[in-house]
């Protein structure tokens, strides 16, 4: 190649590149001009995209961030997550070292359970102090108490379960005393015991071991260490639930023993190595309390926490075969389950998100239709289809980029903003900023959601633009408009049929799973969510076909229009009947919105109503009384019954036993009294009615009422005899006759399964006659139910019961205030709030759509109004007709949408139970909150009318002559 060729070649090449560059810049300028000149359309589309994507991003960021905060905060509320014990005392130091070096362990504290003695000073070495009720000098007795020797720093964790009067400190020379022990000391010393009181205390290094025949013990036996002039820093009461301390030493309101309620806490640092060695030698086994590192525990997500904790337990138990690790697995599992439920429940927000995306699609369609003339102009100027599509694609890229950036920003802000309102409903800057500290954005989810929304937007844009620029192609495929309609309808029907088939399949799958499940476990939650996803499709299609029917009906009821609107019906009916420029597009979207709106409201009211019913049922009767310490049941029944206004009070005798390998709580009641006092419901007994079941139990002294789970699992049925074994502190077995199968009972909750709202110590209970339990020597209990007369003020009666003993908790607002579900709602709104937010969003989406769509249609009709006004039509009349026309659509869609909402709700609640509640104690039945529904509907109506007034007024302001001229 010579020099000349080379020159030509490079010149050609450079001109090619510069042509491409210039072309690109030209198109870019054109796109920018288009966007600038279509500010309104641009804003509508960006708002639609940002709205859709923001909601999706918010839900993603929110749940990802929330789970970290929930996990950290929940772990912080737990005293410890594990305790370790071993029967090889000498190995405990090695265990400590091993555990201390495990990265998951944040803190390990010693605890020595022993006994403390007070008022020992004048007792001789041969003074018989044990058993307590039979000690030598009952007029000047030793005061005996359980004692827990713990490290000073551990009090910072243990105190989370305590309500302390005074200081929550355990420095050298200080002790913490329980409320019960303080009262005992008052009797012994005959002085008021309060924080700051100074006394002597003896910590025993040996305690009686009844297994070795030590049923009595002299003072010299205990090998005590005496500590003089110790100050009571605080007096505590145990108020915790779900704690390691409770599991280790007992003491919850429904826990066994209540040791911690009658005890003291002593600083381990004040004991010498010799003391500890002697204690070890005497078989007082030390335990290790383990606090984990929350950040590491939640690695892999909140649902991974139980497994991570279990792994730690396994690591220790495998390394030290002689060790036993107790973990709060049930509590952490419950938290994981509740979180999963709350998280899954956010899927109820999906219809709202789908509606937001749908709104974007419709707005895009409207915007492109508005630009039909522009496309025609471009074509008339010689632009190829590719160039026109390219221009729209360029606009898409620019708008999408802006919308994406804005959506991520809004998503982050909203995700932090919504939970910042917390429980009290007021904005908290601290909560808001804390969210940013924990901020967790999943790029994968953001990408998926962005592709979903922008993909739909791009698809709709391209389909619409192509259909406008390539009509020739479209028409060659579709012979006639009618044919096109038939094909379109057939495709929709086919898609509907497929969706219905999918829904039926998933629904049956859910039902089969539900039949096999006794609780709402993860599998059922998952099945419920999947069914919901397809059900959303069914709703969309259902509303679509309902709207087709509604439009057909509206176009064929001229008589009704004449009856209602009289002379105005001429224009209103004909506008509704017209084939083009009509508002019938509103029908589908509005039917869908009203259906979703009413479903949200009804599912919400159904859930709230059910929660209230369940709470009342769990409470059991007019008055529920829980004693912090077990009290004599017959004595308290009498005391409570003697209060004026109380008709009857019953106490529950209970003992832990076993059926097969399962621990159960055996409740003993008087069946006739329980029938009278308890708030029984129809579904308490699945196979018989309550009166029969309880009468049969009363008539059969060895009768037993079992859960359906036990009966089915072990093949027991009514009339069959069975054994209950291993009564704790009682006989090894007792024979019973099954008299009924029970699902749940008032005051006791569900018979089978973990009911975290009840905070029971077992997952299973049975009901027997009380005589069988009292026959085992059980006289004390912690639970009472009382029935009051019709005209009695319950609060007054409750106060009188409280006056009997400060240990009594009467009508607690929450039976288990530490129920994890209450905790999670501080971070993820409860399902009822979510449904309300969904309803509000749907309302907003509906109003936005009505406004956009109406404005578009009215714009198309502008010239018609000019003609009408030229012919002498009055503005007020035309305005009125328009408002009536739109109202017809809104009202008609409300009339159709609400029944559809009822059907949706009825179908929805049949498979959404696992998302709506943790246990179905009371059957979920439809409850319509008419007031809330009316408020929402009226709000929609008013807002829609207010929304359309502006475009209508705008239409009326156009100059007639100008509009008529524009026709030419």
């Amino acid at each position: 190649m010579n020099q000349k060729d080379d020159f030509v070649s490079s010149d050609t090449q450079s001109s090619f590149y510069s042509r491409v560059l210039l072309g690109f810049l030209f198109n870019l300028r054109l796109i920018w001009k288009n966007i600038k000149n279509k500010k309104r359309s641009t804003i509508i589309i960006i708002i639609g995209l940002v709205f859709s994507m923001s909601i999706l991003f918010t839900s993603s960021i929110w749940t990802n961030t929330s789970q970290k905060i929930i996990a950290d905060d929940y772990i912080e509320t737990l005293d410890y997550e594990m305790y370790i014990s071993t029967f090889l005392i000498n190995a405990m130091d090695e265990v400590y070292e091993f555990v201390f070096n495990d990265p998951l362990v944040k803190q390990a504290d010693w605890i020595f359970p022993t006994v403390a003695l007070f008022n020992y000073e004048d007792k001789g070495p041969f003074y018989r102090w044990y058993p307590e009720e039979n000690q030598e000098n009952i007029t000047n007795p030793l005061s005996l108490s359980s004692a827990f020797v713990v490290s000073s720093r551990s009090i910072d964790r243990i105190k989370l379960n305590l309500e302390i009067e005074g200081n929550a400190t355990l420095n050298s020379g200080e002790i913490l005393v329980s409320y019960t022990q303080a009262r005992q000391l008052e009797r012994v010393y005959n002085e008021t015991i309060s924080p700051g009181y100074v006394l002597n205390v003896a910590i025993t290094r040996k305690i009686p071991n009844t297994d070795e025949g030590e049923h009595t013990m002299q003072y010299y036996d205990i090998e005590e260490t005496r500590y003089e002039n110790y100050t009571i820093s605080g007096i505590y009461n145990y108020v915790g639930h779900n704690s390691i301390i409770e599991r280790l030493v007992g003491g919850g309101s429904e826990g066994a023993g209540g040791i911690i309620l009658d005890s003291i806490l002593f600083p381990a640092e004040d004991m010498t190595g010799v003391d500890l060695f002697v204690m070890d030698s005497n078989g007082i086994l030390p335990r290790l309390l383990i606090k984990t590192n929350a950040q590491l525990l939640r690695e892999g997500g909140i649902t991974q926490m139980p497994d991570n904790l279990l792994a730690l337990k396994e690591r220790i138990e495998i390394r030290f075969f002689h060790s036993f690790c107790y973990i709060l697995s049930q509590e952490i599992q419950t938290m994981a389950d509740e979180y999963r439920r709350s998280f899954s429940a956010t899927s109820l927000f999906l219809p709202t998100i789908a509606s937001a995306i749908f709104l974007t699609v419709l707005s895009t369609q409207i915007t492109i239709k508005r630009r039909r003339e522009e496309i025609a102009f471009l074509r008339s100027r010689g632009a190829s289809s590719g160039q026109i599509i390219g221009l729209f694609f360029g606009e898409f890229i620019l708008l999408s980029s802006v919308a994406l950036a804005l959506s991520i920003g809004f998503g982050i802000l909203l995700a932090a903003f919504i939970p910042s309102f917390g429980h009290d409903g007021f904005f908290s800057t601290t909560l808001f900023l804390r969210y940013f500290q924990y901020l967790e954005i999943s790029p994968y989810e953001i990408e998926i959601f962005a592709v979903l929304v922008l993909g739909i937007y791009l698809g709709v844009t391209l389909i619409n633009v192509i259909s406008l620029v390539r009509k020739d192609i479209q028409e060659s495929f579709l012979i006639t408009r009618k044919g096109q309609q038939i094909v379109s309808l057939s495709l929709k029907l086919a898609a509907f049929a497929l969706t219905i088939a999918g829904f039926i399949f998933l629904y049956l799958d859910y039902l089969a799973l539900a039949r096999q499940s006794y609780t709402f476990d993860f599998n059922l939650i998952s099945a419920s969510s999947k069914t919901l996803y397809v059900f959303i499709g069914v709703i969309f299609f259902g509303c679509y076909f309902a709207s087709l029917g509604l439009n057909y009906l509206l176009k064929n009821i001229e008589g009704v229009f004449k009856l209602i609107f009289r002379r105005r019906s001429f224009f209103i009916f004909r506008n509704i009947k017209r084939a083009s420029k009509n508002l019938s597009d509103l029908t589908f979207f509005l039917v869908l919105m009203v259906c979703l709106l009413s479903s949200f409201i009804m599912i919400r009211s159904t859930t709230i109503n059910n929660l209230e019913s369940e709470d009342a049922y769990r409470k059991g009767s007019d008055i529920r009384i829980q004693s912090v310490l077990p009290v004599n049941i017959s004595e308290y029944e009498e005391k409570i019954s003697s209060i004026h206004g109380i008709e009857k009070a019953i106490g529950f005798y209970s003992i832990v036993a076993s059926i097969g390998f399962q621990d159960i709580e055996v409740f003993g009641v008087n069946p006739t009294d329980y029938l009278e006092v308890g708030r029984w419901i129809e579904e308490s007994f699945p196979e018989t009615d309550t009166v029969n079941a309880l009468t049969n139990l009363g008539a059969n002294q060895t009768g037993i009422i079992l859960s359906k789970y036990i009966a089915e699992r072990l093949g027991f049925h009514v009339g069959r005899s069975m054994f209950v074994t291993d009564f704790r502190g009682g006989p090894f077995y007792m024979r019973f006759n099954v008299t009924a199968v029970i699902k749940s009972a008032p005051g006791l909750g569900i018979a089978h399964g973990d009911d975290p709202k009840m905070n029971r110590i077992t997952n299973e209970w049975v009901l027997v006659n009380k005589e069988l339990i009292t026959g085992l020597g059980v006289e004390n209990g912690t639970l009472f139910l009382a029935d009051v007369g019709d005209d009695v003020d319950i609060d007054v009666v409750a106060n009188q019961i409280r006056a009997i003993s400060p240990l009594l908790i009467v009508n607690p607002e929450k039976i288990n205030p530490d129920y994890i579900g209450y905790f999670i709602t501080g971070y993820i709104p409860p399902i009822t709030a979510m449904l309300l937010i969904g309803a509000i969003f749907v309302n907003i989406i509906a109003i936005v759509y009505v406004t956009i769509s109406t404005e578009f249609i009215l714009e198309q009709r502008r010239r018609e109004y000019a003609v009408l006004m030229a012919l002498g039509g009055r503005q007020s009349n035309i305005r009125g007709q328009l408002i009536y026309e739109i109202l017809v659509f809104i009202l008609a869609t409300i009339i159709v949408g609400i029944p559809l909402g009822v059907i949706t709700t009825l179908m929805g609640i049949s498979f959404l139970k696992p998302l709506l509640m943790s246990q179905e104690v009371v059957n979920l039945t439809l409850h319509i909150d008419v007031v809330a529904l009316l408020i929402m509907i009226v709000t929609l109506l008013i807002a829609a009318v207010l929304g359309i007034i502006r475009p209508i007024r705008k239409q009326m302001k156009y100059d007639i002559v100008h509009e008529l001229r524009a026709i030419v």
């Binding site: 004449k562 002379r567 019906s569 001429f570 224009f571 004909r574 506008n575 009947k577 017209r578 084939a579 083009s580 420029k581 010239r863 018609e864 003609v867 009408l868 006004m869 030229a870 012919l871 002498g872 039509g873 009055r874 503005q875 009349n877 007639i960 002559v961 008529l964 026709i967 030419v968």
Partner: protein, 250 residues
């Protein structure tokens, strides 16, 4: 002498846009009497349609006034103006302006419904009117199913539905072929004569003026009348692209 129905007094109309100010009427004055058949003649943009719009109360003059039976339209309330358009004016548009979603019958019913006649009565009268314009058999057809001539017949029927005293037609034959145009004009003027209506129509076609008894020439924003109705009095100055009356008065 007949009663004066419309009286225009020094009418001006200026259209203001971002680019320019365009004065279409510049102090026009004229009187129209009951029973007159007035033709406004002028080239495109001479102000014919603007004058009709002002007479019909669809537009307001920049200055000057229009009196209807001695009453200044500009001083009327909106409602009175609506009633005037509805009951006193019948307007026939060059582009028909039929409502596409209504049938021919319903289009004719529109003014009657607006005047609050019952639908049944309006339908009966509309059918009579369509019969009168020769379109009864196409009463149920939509505008898109009608020819241009038929559409204009529907417009005529619609215009006379409320028995207006003034019939205004803006280039009623503008979009029609000459044969159909003649038919339409004959129909329009026949009905007007029968109903003793005042007719004001515009055209830029000098041959359509032959049916008028008065010709107003729109020129330089002014309305000029020489008192003769014959087409023979008009000449078209091709050099200046203007109509003028014989005798030099432009």
């Amino acid at each position: 002498m007949s009663e004066k129905v419309i009286s225009a007094d020094k009418l001006t109309k200026t259209f203001v846009s971002k680019a320019e100010e365009l004065t279409v009427l510049n102090g026009s004055s004229f009187d129209i009497y009951r029973g007159d058949i007035v033709c406004l003649l002028g080239i495109s943009g001479s102000g014919k349609t603007t004058t009709l719009n002002l007479i019909a109360g669809l537009d307001t003059p920049s200055s000057g006034r229009i009196l209807y039976s001695g009453s200044n339209i500009g001083e009327w309330t909106l409602n009175k103006l609506y009633d005037f358009r509805l009951q006193e004016i019948g307007f026939i548009f060059q582009e028909f302006y039929l409502l596409e979603h209504l049938t021919a019958l319903e289009n004719v019913m529109v003014p009657m419904i607006l005047v609050e006649i019952t639908e049944d009565e309006a339908q009966e009268r509309a059918l009579e009117l369509l019969t009168q314009v020769g379109l009864r058999r196409k009463a149920m057809n939509h505008p898109e199913e009608l020819s241009s001539g038929e559409r204009q017949r529907v417009c005529i029927a619609r215009a006379i539905a409320n028995h207006p005293s003034i019939l205004i037609a803006d280039e009623p034959t503008g979009t029609l072929d000459s044969k159909t145009g003649d038919e339409i004009m004959n129909l329009l003027l026949g009905i007007a004569q029968q109903r003793q209506m005042t007719v004001i129509y515009t055209t830029h076609d000098p041959y359509v003026t032959k049916l008028a008894n008065r010709i107003f020439l729109m020129q330089n924003g002014l309305v000029v009348e020489n008192g003769q109705s014959s087409l023979d009095n008009l000449v078209f100055d091709e050099t200046n692209f203007k109509y003028k009356f014989k005798g030099g008065k432009t």
